[in-house]
C-alpha cells in the first residue's frame, strides 16, 4: 500500500490505517469488551434491579483479583509464571491489617508504603531465586507460595486486624457519578500509573522481548537475567497492591490465601496474554477479571447450583479462549 510513497515519508500513515492497525492489534481486547458489554446487558435483563449500587459492589469485589491479574500478566509476558501471588497477597494483607489495627490514619499511610516495599522485596526474592538458581520458575514460585503462606500464618494465625478508614473509603461507593465506581477508578489509575510508563520504557520492551524470544533478546543486547528479576519485582509490587486491596475491601487481614493465584492465571489467559510469553498487555486481563466475575454473578442469578456453576465456569473459560484463538487465527491467515 505504502510502497509508492517516498520511503522517508512513509512513517506517517493515514489515520484510517492507524485505526485499522490499532483494531487489528487490539482485536482480542476489543472482542473481550464486546463480551463484557453483552454480559452486562444479559445481567440487566436477568435482574432488572441491577444498577449503580450493584455495579459499585462488583467493582469492590473484583479489585483484589484485578490487581492480582495485572501482577500475573507482567510475569507471564516476560515468559515466566508466578504461583505465589495468592500467598504474597495473604502475607501483605495480614501484615498491613496487623500494623494498621487501632492506629491513626497517618500511620496507615506509612504502613501502606511499607507494605508496598515488602511486596517489592517478596518479588525480589522470587526473582533472585529464579534467576540465580536456574530452577524452573514454576517450581520456585510454587515452593515460595508455601513459604509466603507459612509466613502469613506466623504473622497472624487467624483473620483479624484492621484498616485505616481512608483506605477503606477508597474502595467503596461512587466517584462523581453514581455509575462510576470508585474502586474501579482507583484500581485503573494505580495500574496505569505504573504500567504505561513501564511498557514504554526500555525495561518494558525488554520484558516483552525476553518473553517473545529469549535468544534473540540476548543477541539484541538485552540483559536477560536482570530483566526477569525486574518482572518478578513488578509482580511482587502488584501482589502487594492486591493484598492491600484485600485489606481495604474486607477491613481485616486473612492469613489463608484465597483462590487468587489460579484465577489470575485464568484471567491472564482469557485476557489474551500468551502463556508462552511476549504477547498481550494488562488491559485484557483486567476486562477478563470482570467478565469472569459477571459470569459467576449471572450463574447465581440463574440459580445454578454453586458446584455446577464452577463446572460451567471452567467450561466457559475453555470455550471463550478456544473461540477467540480460532478467530485470531483466521484473521492472521486472511
Amino acid at each position: 500500500m505504502s510502497a509508492a510513497a517516498p520511503p522517508l515519508g512513509a512513517a506517517q500513515a493515514r489515520p484510517l490505517d492507524t485505526l485499522v492497525a490499532f483494531t487489528r492489534r487490539n482485536a482480542w481486547s476489543i472482542g473481550l469488551i464486546a463480551v463484557l458489554v453483552g454480559l452486562l446487558l444479559f445481567t440487566k435483563a436477568l435482574q432488572p434491579r441491577y444498577g449503580p449500587i450493584t455495579l459499585q459492589g462488583l467493582a469492590t469485589s473484583v479489585q483484589p483479583l484485578l490487581l492480582a491479574a495485572v501482577a500475573q500478566a507482567i510475569v507471564v509476558i516476560s515468559g515466566g509464571i508466578d504461583l505465589s501471588i495468592g500467598s504474597m497477597m495473604a502475607l501483605t494483607s495480614v501484615v498491613s491489617a496487623s500494623l494498621m489495627a487501632k492506629q491513626s490514619e497517618e500511620v496507615g499511610v506509612a504502613v501502606v508504603l511499607g507494605v508496598l516495599l515488602l511486596g517489592i522485596a517478596l518479588g525480589a526474592v522470587n526473582g533472585a531465586v529464579v534467576v540465580i538458581t536456574r530452577v524452573p520458575d514454576i517450581v520456585v514460585t510454587l515452593a515460595m507460595s508455601f513459604v509466603w503462606a507459612g509466613s502469613a500464618l506466623l504473622v497472624r494465625s487467624a483473620p483479624g486486624g484492621g484498616a485505616a478508614s481512608w483506605l477503606k473509603s477508597l474502595v467503596v461507593g461512587p466517584l462523581a457519578n453514581e455509575w462510576i465506581p470508585k474502586a474501579a477508578v482507583v484500581a485503573l489509575v494505580v495500574v496505569f500509573v505504573v504500567w504505561i510508563p513501564l511498557s514504554r520504557s526500555r525495561l518494558g520492551l525488554s520484558i516483552y522481548s525476553i518473553g517473545s524470544d529469549r535468544l534473540a533478546a540476548f543477541r539484541s543486547g538485552v540483559s536477560v537475567g536482570p530483566t526477569r528479576f525486574a518482572a518478578y519485582v513488578m509482580t511482587g509490587l502488584f501482589s502487594a497492591l492486591a493484598g492491600l486491596s484485600l485489606t481495604a475491601t474486607t477491613g481485616i487481614g486473612s492469613p489463608v490465601p484465597g483462590p487468587y493465584t489460579l484465577f489470575s492465571v485464568a484471567a491472564v489467559v482469557l485476557g489474551g496474554v500468551s502463556l508462552a510469553g511476549g504477547r498481550g498487555g494488562v488491559f485484557g486481563p483486567i476486562v477478563a477479571v470482570v467478565v469472569l466475575q459477571l459470569i459467576q454473578t449471572d450463574l447465581t442469578f440463574l440459580r445454578v447450583d454453586s458446584n455446577l456453576a464452577l463446572v460451567a465456569q471452567g467450561a466457559i473459560l475453555i470455550a471463550v479462549v478456544m473461540v477467540g484463538s480460532l478467530i485470531t487465527m483466521r484473521r492472521s491467515r486472511g
Binding site: A5, R202, S209, R219
Partner: protein, 544 residues
C-alpha cells in the same frame, strides 16, 4: 601478514574453547585491518560458529585475547561486545518476533533515519515499521537485521551466513552494500559458504580447520582453490569427481512418474504448478524468494492441503491430510530448517530411528538390535560425525542436516523432496550431500530438490523447473541450466534479454575468473535502481 598490531582493527589470538570432551577451538586467530572485508572460512565443525560466538560475547573463551583498536575487549555478553564496537548479524534473525520493527530498533537503540537509509540501499524501501517482526518473511528479517547493524555503525560488523536464506536479487544488493564498506575506517567479517560471494566482496580470508587457524589468504582470482585446499585438507580432490560422474544419468519419459503434480494451487501464492518426477531422476526447482515454492513443498510433504489441482503418486491420486500420509505413500521431506525436522535434545540414533520405528514394529517393544543395525548403516552412508551423538543439538549444522537425510535413507527412499538441504552448510558436506542424492537417484529413487544456490542445479539435477509467481515458467535440461539461464528464468525474462540487476551478471562473471575489481567499477546504474543508492560509499549522513 606482517602488520603491526596497532594497524589492526580487530585482533584475536590463541582463542580456545572446550565443551566437555569436545574441543571446539584449539587455537584460533583472526586479524582484520580497517577498511577490510575479511572472510572467515572453515568446513563443518571447524570452529567458525564458536569463534563468532566468542567475538560477539555469546560464549566466553577458555583462553586467548581479543583486542579492538588495540584495546582488550571484554565481551561478556552481546551488549558488552556492542559497546566494544562489535555487532553481529546472526544466521537466525535476532529480532523479537512479538515486537514491531520500531520497538525492535528502540530495544537496540538504533537511530531510525540511518536505518531507513540502509534499508533503501538494501532494496527494502517499503517496509512498514509498525509491522510485527513475526509477520515478515525470513529474507526481509535478515535484511532488516543487517540494516539495523549497519545503522549502529560498529567498528567491526560480523555477518554470519548473511546471504544463506536470501533470494538472488536481495543477495546481490547485500553484497553491493558490503562491498562498499571497503576502504573505510570500519571492517566487516564475512562468513559465507558461497565462494562466489567471497570472491566478490572480500579482501582476505582466514581459514579455520579443526579449531585452529590454518592460513590467511589474499582473495584474488584463483585463490578459491587455495582456500578450499586449506579448509578441507586432503579430501578436497576426491568428492567432485563422484558428483561429476554421477550426474550423467539419463531418464526415459515413458516410465510411470513417481510423483506428479497437475495445476497445483494454494491460495494466492501458488497458482499453477505441474510436473512429473520420475524414478531415478533429480528434478531441480528454482525460484526467487516467495514465488510459491514454500507452499508447493508444504503440500507435497502433507503439511497443508492444496486449494486446487491434484497430486499423484505412482499413478494413483493422493490427498495428503497429514505428513504421515505422505510418508506412508513414500514421499519423505527434508527441510532446510533442521530444527523443523529433528528432536534437538535426543540422540542421533533416536532421531534416525524415529520414522523407522513405525515401520519396524507397530505395537510392542522396538527391536533395538535391528534398529541399531539400520541406524549404524545410515550413519556410515552419510559419514556423520558422531562425537556428540548424545544430543543432536550439539552437532554442527552440516552434521545435523546429514541426520535429517539419514532418517529417511535408513528406511529406504522412494521419493524424497528436499527444500534447500544445503542451506548454510560447508562445501565438504555439500558435496557429500550432492553425491548422496545422485547415489539415491542411481538406485532408483526420485528426488525433488529446491535450491537457493543456482550452481547446485547443474551439479546435481537432471533437469530443473523454474517457478515464478506461483507458476512453472520454464523447464531446463541439465545442459541448459547454467546460472545466467536459471537467473533469467527465475526473473521470468526471456533468455536473450538483459538481467535487471547488472551486478548479478558481474557476480556470475566473477566465477569465470574476471578480476575482483570489476565489482567496484562505476555502476552502469540501471533505470529502476534509485539514484541515491548507486553513489553511496560512506554510511548515510544524518537526514536533512
Amino acid at each position: 601478514m606482517t602488520v603491526a598490531a596497532t594497524d589492526l582493527l580487530l585482533e584475536a589470538t590463541g582463542v580456545a574453547k572446550t565443551y566437555g570432551a569436545v574441543v571446539a577451538l584449539r587455537s584460533a586467530s583472526l586479524a582484520v585491518r580497517p577498511g577490510e572485508v575479511h572472510a572467515l572460512m572453515g568446513a563443518n565443525g571447524a570452529g567458525k560458529s564458536t569463534l563468532v560466538k566468542i567475538l560477539t560475547g555469546a560464549v566466553r573463551p577458555d583462553a586467548g585475547t581479543i583486542t579492538v583498536h588495540g584495546r582488550p575487549l571484554v565481551a561478556s555478553s552481546p551488549a558488552a561486545a556492542r559497546r566494544g564496537g562489535i555487532v553481529s548479524v546472526y544466521q537466525e534473525p535476532a529480532l523479537i518476533p512479538d515486537l514491531d520493527i520500531r520497538s525492535n530498533l528502540r530495544l537496540t537503540a538504533t537511530p531510525i533515519e540511518p536505518f531507513r537509509n540502509w534499508l533503501d540501499q538494501l532494496g527494502v524501501a517499503d517496509l512498514d515499521l509498525s509491522a510485527l517482526a513475526r509477520r515478515l518473511p525470513l529474507a526481509t528479517l535478515r535484511v532488516v537485521d543487517l540494516a539495523r547493524a549497519l545503522a549502529i555503525e560498529p567498528d567491526v560488523l560480523m555477518l554470519d551466513e548473511m546471504t544463506a536464506a536470501l533470494p538472488a536479487n536481495l543477495t546481490e544488493r547485500v553484497l553491493e552494500v558490503i562491498g562498499r564498506q571497503r576502504g573505510g575506517e570500519r571492517c566487516v567479517v564475512f562468513i559465507s559458504h558461497r565462494m562466489i560471494e567471497i570472491g566478490a566482496v572480500c579482501d582476505r580470508a582466514t581459514v579455520l580447520r579443526e579449531g585452529a587457524t590454518v592460513g590467511v589468504v589474499d582473495v584474488t582470482p584463483g585463490s578459491e582453490n587455495r582456500i578450499v585446499e586449506l579448509m578441507l585438507g586432503q579430501i578436497a580432490e576426491d568428492i567432485p569427481d563422484a558428483v561429476e560422474q554421477a550426474s550423467t544419468h539419463v531418464t526415459t519419459a515413458d516410465v510411470v512418474p513417481r510423483l506428479s503434480a497437475r495445476s497445483l494451487g494454494s491460495g494466492a501464492k501458488l497458482d499453477d504448478v505441474s510436473f512429473d518426477l520420475r524414478p531415478g531422476e533429480v528434478l531441480g526447482v528454482v525460484a526467487l524468494e516467495g514465488q510459491g515454492q514454500d507452499e508447493l513443498f508444504d503440500i507435497l510433504a502433507g503439511m497443508s492441503r492444496p486449494t486446487g489441482g491434484s497430486v499423484t503418486v505412482d499413478g494413483s491420486p493422493v490427498a495428503f491430510r497429514h505428513p504421515a500420509d505422505a510418508i506412508r505413500a513414500g514421499v519423505v521431506y527434508v527441510a532446510a530448517d533442521r530444527a523443523e525436522a529433528l528432536l534437538m535434545q535426543r540422540s542421533v540414533r533416536e532421531n534416525i530411528a524415529l520414522p523407522l520405528v513405525a515401520r519396524l514394529r507397530r505395537w510392542g517393544p522396538i527391536n533395538l538390535g535391528e534398529e541399531r543395525r539400520i541406524v549404524d548403516g545410515a550413519i556410515q552412508t552419510l559419514q556423520i560425525d558422531t562425537r556428540a551423538k548424545g544430543e543432536v543439538r550439539r552437532l554442527s549444522g552440516g552434521n545435523q542436516q546429514k541426520v535429517t537425510i539419514a532418517r529417511w535413507v535408513a528406511g529406504g527412499v522412494r521419493t524424497m523432496i528436499c527444500f534447500d538441504p544445503t542451506r548454510g552448510i560447508d562445501i565438504g558436506t555439500k558435496r557429500q550431500i550432492y553425491a548422496l542424492l545422485r547415489d539415491l537417484a542411481a538406485a532408483g529413487a526420485a528426488i525433488l530438490l529446491y535450491t537457493s544456490e543456482l550452481k547446485e542445479v547443474q551439479l546435481v539435477c537432471d533437469r530443473a523447473i523454474v517457478i515464478f509467481g506461483g507458476k512453472v515458467v520454464r523447464e531446463l535440461s541439465r545442459a541448459e541450466a547454467d546460472e545466467p539461464a536459471l537467473l533469467r528464468a527465475a526473473y521470468n525474462l526471456r533468455s536473450d534479454s538483459e538481467l535487471p540487476e547488472v551486478a548479478v551478471a558481474e557476480i556470475v562473471a566473477q566465477a569465470d575468473g574476471t578480476p575482483v575489481e570489476a565489482i567496484e567499477s562505476p555502476d552502469p546504474a540501471p533505470p529502476e535502481r534509485p539514484a541515491a543508492a548507486a553513489s553511496i560509499s560512506n554510511p548515510p549522513d544524518e537526514p536533512e
